[in-house]
């Protein structure tokens, strides 16, 4: 069991409250996932040609100052490091690929959890309520976000095993379910050059989608191919720079509810997460049909 939530703001006036609404949704999904929590928030894009990375350090005492000095030296004085506990958002005037390569080579102790121009990914062990407090989640503004509360069933409870998983620039995946062919698929994807840091099945799904999109698939095509190649039960929500997509496996036994008003569109494992949103009493509410891909994009 796990809980997943997604919120896409349509009314710009609500963007300032994205974090508050996302937090309310995550709290409702605490019972589905008390082990760890994570979010991908899309907000405050860096200028074109710049990069925004979210990195995870080995511990909270990490020397962020040293990293900041290194970044300024290599990428210029306007490099930024904004840290929360053992995680930080880095902004530099360089392409995401260049920035990511530099981090991996100069600071191999850091794990890059997210990369692009908009996305910020935070995740941690522990209850969703603690996570919300520790990362000041309620104060975030933004256009859309995904969240996950994890009840671990097939691999360890660590920050690295927590969702969301990055699947490419400004892309991420949250997953409720379990995959049965992830070991074989992980081996095959490694041969194709996709790297994995954990034995988590959801990371394999993320790696699979990343590989398909590297091969030229659109997000919808990658998800369509996933329906053939990923064996198991799942509800996936995939965040993109301008929206998110939801798909449920052909058997469709993992839950998902969607709702939409003029102000927002939302998905969650259960309605009670959506019940926290303003104007929900007038929302159109439905369950996704298995294998059909639902997506919202900024116009």
């Amino acid at each position: 069991m796990c809980g997943i939530v997604g919120l896409f703001i349509k009314n710009p006036e609500m963007e300032k409250d994205l974090g508050k609404h996302l937090s309310g949704m995550l709290i409702e999904m605490s019972e589905r996932g008390p082990d760890s929590a994570g979010v991908a928030i899309y907000h405050d894009p860096v200028p074109a040609g710049s990069a925004k990375l979210t990195v995870l350090a080995p511990d909270e005492d990490y020397s962020w100052h040293e990293l900041h000095d290194g970044l300024k030296h290599v990428f210029g004085d306007d490099a930024e490091v904004i840290h929360h506990r053992d995680q930080a958002v880095i902004k530099v005037a360089a392409s995401p690929a260049l920035a990511q390569n530099w981090i991996q080579e100069s600071h191999p102790e850091l794990r890059v959890n997210g990369a692009g121009e908009v996305i910020e990914i935070f995740k941690d062990k522990g209850s969703p309520a603690d996570f919300i407090d520790n990362f000041g989640l309620e104060d975030y503004s933004g256009t859309h976000a995904l969240g996950h509360t994890r009840m671990a069933t097939e691999s360890a409870i660590t920050t690295e095993h927590s969702h969301p998983f990055s699947t490419g620039l400004d892309l991420c995946l949250v997953h409720n379910g379990s995959l049965s062919n992830h070991n074989r698929l992980r081996q095959e994807l490694r041969k194709k050059g996709i790297s994995f840091e954990t034995d988590n099945d959801s990371e394999v799904a993320a790696g699979y989608l990343a590989w398909r999109m590297q091969e030229g698939d659109s997000l919808d095509e990658a998800l369509q191919n996933g329906l053939k190649d990923l064996d198991g039960f799942y509800t996936f929500a995939v965040g993109t720079d301008d929206g998110f997509a939801v798909v449920v496996d052909p058997i469709g036994c993992k839950p998902a509810v969607m709702a939409e008003t003029d102000d927002w569109a939302a998905m969650a494992s259960e309605f009670r997460a959506i019940a926290t949103l303003p104007g929900v009493e007038n929302a159109r509410i439905w369950e996704p049909v298995p294998t059909r891909i639902y997506s919202w994009h900024r116009g």
């Binding site: 058997i251 469709g252 036994c253 839950p255 509810v257 259960e270 309605f271 009670r272 997460a273 959506i274 019940a275 509410i285 439905w286 369950e287 049909v289 298995p290």
Partner: protein
């Protein structure tokens, strides 16, 4: 009439009230349900319960005697293992609605998702809209009436339950076949729709489905079907 506002009361408070003698012939209204789980589970007396909003998992589960109405959608496992009485969902019901139900009547005015009536054992289910895949899997007895369409694999491995479908069936499950509509069946369908308050539904296009009885008799010639 007793009001249970789930902002101020717990679901357990409500359910315990439904388990007391004093619930007999009493009326309960539940507000601020907001998708909470296990609302009005295990009701034992002839009570009237109105849930004024959307319910979460297992609403009306194990119901005996009570008449429960949900003025909204119901989450997974609505009326699971119902014994008697009625559960009416004004909106849509999620997965495995009325699963393993042994008696009583479950009415869904909207649609249900997958596995509606899975392993039903005597409950009658009337759905005003459509139902999802794998519905009535291993259904044993009782009737499932669907005014709209049925998803893939209707009635897979069913025993003696009857399925009446007004719309299209995406596919029939293993050993499920279409059967002739005799007068007896037309009368039963009419009676069930009337009991559900849907007596004005045109029944002329309904078809009946059920078990071909080739699987559960363990005929060795059918070994390939298992």
């Amino acid at each position: 009439m007793t009001n249970f506002d789930l902002k101020d009361n717990t679901v357990r408070d409500l359910n315990q009230a439904l388990h007391q003698d004093s619930a007999d012939k009493a009326e309960f209204v539940v507000s601020n349900s907001n998708g909470k789980h296990s609302i009005a589970v295990g009701a034992m007396y002839d009570s009237t319960v109105t849930v004024d909003g959307h319910a979460g998992y297992y609403c009306g589960g194990m119901n005996q005697n009570a008449n429960i109405t949900i003025n909204g959608n119901a989450g997974s496992g609505c009326a699971e293992n119902i014994m008697s009485g009625t559960v009416r969902v004004k909106g849509n019901a999620s997965q495995y609605c009325a699963a393993t139900g042994q008696g009583g009547l479950v009415i869904v005015e909207g649609d249900t998702s997958s596995r509606c009536g899975i392993s039903m054992k005597g409950v009658d289910i009337v759905v005003g809209g459509s139902i999802g895949n794998l519905s009535a899997f291993m259904a044993q007895s009782g009737c499932l009436v669907v005014c709209g369409d049925a998803g893939e694999a209707l009635g897979d491995s069913a025993y003696e339950a009857r399925f009446y479908v007004g719309g299209k069936v995406a596919s029939l499950g293993a050993d499920c076949i279409e059967k002739p509509m005799e007068d007896e069946h037309r009368a039963q369908l009419k009676e069930l729709l009337e009991a559900a308050g849907m007596g004005d539904v045109d029944t002329s296009g309904f078809k009946r489905y059920g078990s071909a009885r080739r699987l559960y008799n363990f005929n060795i010639d059918n070994a390939g079907e298992y």
